[in-house]
Symmetry: C2
Subunit: 551 residues, 2 copies
């Protein structure tokens, strides 16, 4: 039975004081994130989160913890991810939760957990926080996929604890949150070893797990804790984070939520369910913003770019999970573009300060979240808007941008240094590079000019899709949206997943493209989700029954 339709609207904010499933503790430069999932505290009542298995609620807390470590604890240089359960690290995503979830919920659940795991790797690569997975017991499926996202994996050698990806042999699905990709592409496990490993439910343990590169080291129970602590200290020593000083506390967003709107300080989301269209408006700063690291730390989570993009991130997540039928999102901005450009100058000048670095990478991740949101985005650039610099990325991330050309009402877009690669897509390219893949020289030209670009100049420069005049504007935009919402939602999802990511592929795009697309396919197949499908039969009497055709 698909029960997720009855879920109350999901919210994505939490705080360590509210965590049900994780303990966050600190010991000098090392933080420890300990999984201790409460069986009876799942998001739905139809499953128990046994053996540290997880659902979306568990992962929302993990995402929050990683984020807070980055912003609130600049003195943390390494993170140990482990478990408080005896002989159990994590049994992976809860199977009964998956079995009872709609296809759309499964897809969005996997997408979110993928983003959380990539956020760990992002923190390692860009924030100088190393992650050590300390596997104190069985580590299966999504549990091992979480470990794979860490820089290093150590496993207890107690004769029974193994790492495993039992999805294929037990459940007839894939280790779909990065498992297959990271095994062969990140850890470079040999293909035949990976093939064997991913087809045996019991997994691999001890020396063989090390030889096959599945883990970095194994230690006997007696030495496990001390070796983990030692290695965590060594990893912490590699960091370029500050040794102390204040962080940026991430306070609650306090949106005003009604049935058809979510209103934040700088972001407003409105929903028209009958039309299946949402609008998101992002406001430019309305007062002077800090320019020095000290003043930014003082402003904390009220600093405009951090506040605005935290709000946008929250709005996107609510749309994904709570409004599945809203297929088209209109992106607008408002306010003074000069105020955005002033912030961009600060971000660019102070990018080497740890806090500014965090803010830039957070904006980057939010924009990636938009790239990966399976809804159509149309940006509307109208007089009074503020599509400049960082906010122009919203137009670049959109599938199309329309710009009103009204001689009586000035309207311009502008670029800043921040459009020059500060917010790369998951391909590694900036959105401007992706846009001008066929004319790479154009990017530097446009960046050196910067603008402002009036509508016809923007059109000629290739920065917008269309620039209708005031007579045509309303009809053209209305028709474009009406046509969009009439198309097959599945075809649009597949089309956008292909057209948005031109250029190189990375481990990240492989996870969201290749791996996720296959997993979504399998999640549709009767062999997994039919009445006798492996995912449905799991834990019940009897065996799965398969249609043996390979395709």
């Amino acid at each position: 039975m698909e029960q997720t339709a009855t879920l109350a609207p999901l919210a994505f904010e939490t705080h360590p004081s509210q965590y049900k499933h994780w303990k966050l503790s600190f010991d000098g430069p090392v933080a420890t994130l300990s999984m201790d999932v409460r069986e009876d505290a799942g998001l739905r009542a139809d499953y128990k989160l046994k053996l540290n298995s997880y659902d979306l609620g568990v992962d929302i807390e993990l995402a929050d913890a990683i984020q807070r470590i980055r912003f609130e604890h600049p003195d943390v240089h390494a993170v140990v991810i482990t478990s408080l359960k005896e002989r159990v690290f994590c049994a992976g995503a809860n199977i009964f939760m998956l079995g009872g979830s709609s296809h759309g919920f499964k897809v969005n659940f996997c997408k979110f957990t993928n983003e959380t795991r990539l956020a760990i790797e992002d923190a390692s690569r860009h924030s100088g926080i190393r992650f050590l997975a300390a596997l104190n017991g069985i580590c299966a499926g999504g549990g091992y996929e979480l470990a794979l996202a860490c820089d290093e994996i150590v496993l207890v050698d107690d004769g029974s604890s193994a790492v495993s990806l039992p999805e294929t042999p037990l459940l007839g699905v894939l280790p779909g949150t990065g498992g297959l990709t990271r095994v062969v592409d990140k850890r470079k496990v040999r293909r035949d070893h990976a093939d064997f490993f991913a087809t045996v439910a019991e997994g691999v343990k001890g020396k063989r797990a090390v030889e096959w590169r599945l883990v970095d080291a194994v230690y006997p129970t007696s030495r496990f804790k001390e070796e983990v602590a030692r290695r965590a200290r060594e990893l912490a020593a590699q960091s370029d984070r500050p040794d102390g000083g204040r962080g940026i506390e991430l306070g609650p967003l306090h949106p005003v939520v009604t049935d058809t709107a979510v209103t934040y300080g700088f972001v407003a989301l409105t929903i028209d369910r009958a039309k299946r269209v949402a609008e998101i408006t992002v406001k430019a700063p309305d007062e002077a913003q800090p320019e020095t690291p000290e003043a930014i730390l003082e402003a904390g989570d009220r600093f405009w770019p951090l506040k605005a993009f935290r709000e946008l991130d929250d709005a996107l997540l609510r749309l994904r999970l709570n409004e599945p039928e809203v297929g088209t999102i209109v992106m607008r901005t408002s306010g003074d573009p000069a105020a955005v450009l002033a912030v961009d100058r600060t971000l660019d000048a102070q990018r080497h300060h740890w806090a500014v670095r965090e803010i830039i990478h957070f904006i980057k991740r939010t924009l990636k979240r938009m790239d990966l949101t399976s809804r159509s985005f149309f940006a509307l650039i109208e007089p009074g808007s503020a599509f400049a610099g960082t906010l122009f990325e919203l137009a670049l991330a959109a599938d199309r941008a329309y710009m009103l050309d009204d001689p009586d009402r000035p309207n311009a877009i502008q670029l800043s240094a921040m459009n020059g690669g500060s917010y790369p897509m998951s391909t590694g390219l900036s959105r401007l590079q992706t846009r001008f893949l066929g004319d790479p020289g154009t990017v530097d030209e446009l960046l050196s000019t910067g603008g402002p670009f009036e509508p016809q100049d923007a059109l000629a420069a290739g920065l917008v899709f269309s620039a209708p005049d005031d007579l045509d504007w309303e009809d053209e935009v209305r028709l474009a949206i009406e046509e969009r919402v009439s198309l097959s939602p599945d075809a649009l999802t597949g089309m956008e997943a292909n057209l948005r990511f031109a250029g190189p592929e990375t481990m990240e795009t492989k996870i969201f493209g290749r791996l996720t697309a296959w997993q979504n396919w399998i999640f549709q197949r009767p062999n997994a989700v039919g009445e006798r499908g492996a995912l449905k039969v799991y834990g019940r009497q009897g065996r799965a029954e398969f249609d043996w055709k390979r395709c």
Copy 2:
């Protein structure tokens, strides 16, 4: 109604004298392939191939024609692909054929057409044959995807002829044979233009089609033929192919086909449907092989590597289309490894001769066909086998290789120069490079040794998965196969599609990974194939009805 189950077993051999849908003509260095599809000559009776729409039978002829041009006509330096129908180039894959096909058939149909289109690009890149798509009329969907595979596209400018990808707006599916990928990655059409183009059924014509890079040039009807001829001559002039001389005629393979076996000269395929296992054995040469280009031309299609791999290619295609439930393929070889290595020395030494070049690239394409076949491959290396050089690629392409270690019966594998990059995978890496992604230095070391590697040496070198002794061999191999055939066929397909392609992605892997996986997903969705799905409703009364949830 899914009717493909009633199809007679498909065969993949044909000859220009038997073509129903294409005319192949020659004018000096320019060949012209003209599409003229016979409406009533489809593979099934439940659709008519109107407006040059195509089914697998049409594409089998196209694949044959491209292949024959490469081997039989070395003096052809450019190919024009056009149509003999007035004002119609090609309407794409036949929708009624798709609507009446099983999921597995749709997937395999798309895979084959993708391989044919990639064979065009392969001939351009590696054989010095340039392709010009001369679009003399409407060019929709798969028709435009065929054009996209050519080096250049010219379109008649008659006020109505357009290029289009109407799959998403009309059928609720993707242009899934490379269309989306080639638009943004090969032709580098700007993302918003591509988004618009792929969502309007009527497509884009004239000047805008050129400006958006969708075609290279448009010409009025009056000048179209002469401009095509002019440009074809220019393209032909870029070739490094010989100006004349004999080709290699590709004679019929004449396999002996029974209900459970297909037996060729060097390849034998046997099928055990009850066990869902097939065995393919490839024999080494059993007599001296030619060593000079002249002698190779004289031997023609009897030259061992060409004959053996043509047979293997045919066997793989039969398995894909005719034996969908046979999920595991055991690969064996037999004969004298020294004879294979002798051929490898010839291939390596003569690789710059056009004919040897063709043979090497044909072997490469056959091995890629194996990589892309969604069946599990286990190679069994036993005494009397010939897993050396080119034939060892069969073990490298397999998901696992088992090697018998019997002290009384010598058994060894060997590498040759041909394992060093002559047969790259679609990632661009050799199979040895893929295998040792984590230890890149190993590849050169192993190649410089070359072997022979006895079982324990092969195991230590990482060249085989397992080397059981004679006591364990039978049980270990039998259990491995029994376990494999018990697993979900869908999960295995997805797993193998991820584990086989570690390393970089290319346009080719994007087509088979990202694009195809999304298309397969959509082909499963009720919005496409349900009773009111877009693909089912097409051409009938009424409109498709969608579940509007995006995921």
